[in-house]
Amino acid sequence: MAITDDVLVIGGGIAACTAALSAAETGARVRLLAHKKSTLRQASGLVDVLGYAGDEGPFSDPYAGLDALPEDHPYHIVGEDGIRDGLRLFDEAVGDAYQGGHTDTNALVMTHGGAVKPTARYPESVAPGLASSSGDMLLVGFENLTDFDAPVAADHLTAAGVPFSVRGVTLEFPKSFRSDAKVTRFAKALDRDESVDGGTARSVLADAIDAELDGETRVGFPAMLGDDHDDEVRDELADRLGVPVFEVPTGPPSLLGLKLEDMLFDALDEAGVRISAGNPAVDFEAEDGRIETVIVDQKSRRTPYEADQIVLATGGLVGKGIDSDREHITEPVFGCHIPHPEDRYEWSEPEAFGSHAFARFGVVPDDELRPTDEDGAVQFENLRAAGGVVGGADIAREKSASGVSLSTGAVAGRLAGEEATQ
């Protein structure tokens, strides 16, 4: 016996969650098999579809850029329908917590460095800070939160030519924490509205900002405005200041990413997806070109999981779905073929932000997202790939990471589910 399901999705990020939700819609019995906590914790929480392609962009309409993408890009397999389906699953999963679904147009969101990036969906708390909407902006940073330097971000944003004025100030947080306190500590203090000198965390903070406000009509903070009671925190601050407040997505560990992870897992629960997390898939048994069993390393002991259909959504180089040594690029679970130049000096460009070959490394999917071997033949009849493990997209340059994950996840999950329930 092994633990048996119809569809087994390997991974724990956006692609895996979407694939699982998509497969569950077909009525299949689905299991998500995740290793560690997902890289969503390191992600901004923004959902990009396509901002740039080649030398073109930024696109205000992400779908308009599809034609400019290289031929082997995964978007050409899933098509506009696949992207829309991925976004639909996402919108259903997160509900009101995200905005952007009302339009096909990209929003321009500021990053914690003060750059502006085109994105398709953004957390509700980020919305009042869009660079594409008007209103002078005050950015607030804190001494102890070194990830966000408000004056520098304001200067960058101004240099980017936004049509409103931006000013940044650095304040003391009303409660003093250790010098390397974690962002969650700040969030909790606001969540609980802890008492501090002169009042409570929220009121004293609002007073300090009020004294700084100089006609600005919106106030931005690094993403730290509460965790469990974030709506309440933002509402109270906005109320006291008389202007909208917003959050700027930050680097890891990102509160917005953590919240997105929670929302996606809640959606999985609701859809009846079973979840096994904490151990990596390391091996498999196959027969006649079909994967019969996936082997999970459960603290050095091997546990078998069986399913009719498998979706591989283990991520790219950062998520460890793709492994590398000095000579080879490999896909560690099923040994899927990943083409790469033999000479590793051809894997990257001299410029840090150049068009690196490694950025596009990944499995080569057929038109059903099944990984193919060197000769272009399907490697396993019942294996599909989704997300970062799929090659062909340069997600960092294109600003397409979430879109690739959502669309390939939606299509791979649906095909797997349909096949398994036939």
């Binding site: 906590k37 914790r41 250790r178 890891p252 560990p253 997390a277 603290k299 050095s300 002991r301």
Partner: protein, 436 residues
């Protein structure tokens, strides 16, 4: 398992014959554990710190990243002493699960704590003596359970509790767990050992201290359920799994216990037995901590054959179908997954299984830590923090539909009961009710 080395066996020189490549010895040869490869994997993303329940409530605690890779680097350069904050780590091992980079955090913490206790701690200090007593709960329980009624009356006495707190630093806020009037092993011997004999289906039960001395009903449920599936159950002599010893840096005590356990269980593996535990910290210890920390003959074999009881049935039997065909009296549970279950990937299995069982409502109360972490919450100076950590779990339990708690971990269950007044069941007890 981690990328770091297990303690090296000096007789082995892996890879030496396999190619012509001549390795240059950069570091002096040592039989100590080499955690450097693991430490180098840390890219300081602080995912571990964010997942640490102690750091969340204790502003003084520098967090797993400092305790692990940073401290390890500091130490390699000069002979820096281990920072005393290591004693505030509760060994929940959540950092292991959070690390995206395979840094063996808990292994580093266990090692550092062992070194701190050995080199820095005054062996006559109240803290050391108290920790030693708590870490060796099994010994204490053995004495206590000789006269269970007397011990229970005594430990429940407020004067005794006050003395415990003032003299030993064991909190008086908690009620000592009652000792059963008959231990699991006494029951086992009285019933004459296994009732089922089988050549094919064989398990050796690691009951641990708690289900032996305090909750023998869990052990009995485990035996009855496995026998109902036709398993031959044996119960080898055993010591504490070592979990409380790791958490208190008593590595010598832990190694002694591990040695006895490995010796008693590894011999059975050849006869076709697998090792089953009903406590998720016990199975965690045998599976992960033993091979990470000790070099004992047969240790890897035991690790590879150890299962949590429910997990074993899920893999080897058609448990889901069995449960679908039966029903129990209506009952509703608030389930809490112990941190150590989480780390073995077992945190969802009870909810998943019992959802299918007619008569049962079960709700996962979320991923908050119970905060007691074995002996941690018993320490007078840690009690408040342990309750602060638990606040989320209490809150979620009270908001859950269920009015009975469920968990696999004995100390989580103490904390759940302490904070909510709910009765707490072990999944095996419900399984017994459903299947036997």
């Amino acid at each position: 398992m981690s990328d770091a080395e297990s303690p090296t066996n000096p007789n082995l020189n892996p890879g030496a014959q396999t190619d012509d490549f001549e390795a240059v010895e950069v570091f002096p040869e040592s039989t100590d554990m080499d955690l450097r490869p693991g430490a180098d994997n840390c890219y300081k993303c602080t995912a571990c710190d964010v997942s640490c329940p102690v750091a969340e409530v204790d502003d003084e605690f520098p967090g797993p990243k400092f305790q692990g890779p940073e401290q390890w680097r500091l130490k390699r350069k000069d002979d820096e002493p281990v920072d005393d904050s290591i004693m505030s780590c509760s060994n929940c091992m959540r950092c292991d699960d959070a690390c995206p980079s395979g840094v063996p955090l808990s292994q580093m913490h266990n090692t550092a704590r062992g070194e701190y206790v050995e080199k820095e701690m005054d062996k006559l200090s109240r803290e050391y003596i108290r920790n030693r007593i708590l870490a060796n709960y099994g010994t204490l329980a053995q004495l206590g359970s000789m006269f269970p009624r007397l011990t229970n009356a005594m430990m429940g006495n407020s004067l005794v509790q006050m003395v415990n707190e003032k003299v030993l630093g064991i909190t008086s806020e908690r009620d000592f767990p009652a000792f059963a009037t008959q231990t699991f092993r006494e029951w086992w011997n009285e019933r004459g050992g296994p009732k089922v004999r089988s050549e094919e289906k064989r398990v050796a039960y690691f009951h641990g201290c708690y289900s032996n001395y305090n909750t023998p009903e869990v052990g009995k449920a485990m035996v009855r359920v496995f026998e109902s599936f036709g398993y031959e159950v044996v119960v080898p002599k055993q010591r504490c799994s070592g979990t409380p010893m790791f958490a208190n840096g008593m590595l010598e005590d832990a190694k002694r216990a591990a040695g006895i356990n490995v010796e008693n269980f590894s011999g059975l593996l050849n006869e076709g037995y697998d090792v089953i535990a009903s406590c998720t910290s016990c199975s965690m210890s045998l599976r992960q901590e033993y091979p990470e920390l000790f070099d004992i003959d047969g240790i890897k074999d035991v690790s590879e054959h150890t299962y949590e009881a429910l997990e074993y049935l899920r893999i080897h039997e058609n448990l889901e179908d069995e449960l679908r065909e039966v029903s129990v009296d209506d009952q509703s549970f608030a389930y809490h997954a112990p941190c150590h279950a989480r780390n073995q990937g077992l945190d969802r299995q009870s909810v998943e299984l019992f959802r299918e069982l007619d008569g049962v409502e079960i709700e996962d109360v979320g991923d908050s830590c119970s905060g007691i972490s074995g002996t941690y919450g018993w320490k007078e100076e840690k009690y408040d923090k342990s309750m602060q950590i638990a606040a989320d779990m209490f809150d979620h339990m009270e908001h859950a539909q269920g009015d009975v708690g469920m968990t696999e971990c004995p100390t989580c269950s103490m904390q759940m009961e302490h904070g909510t007044g709910y009765d707490i069941k072990h999944p095996l007890q419900l399984l017994e009710e459903a299947l036997v």
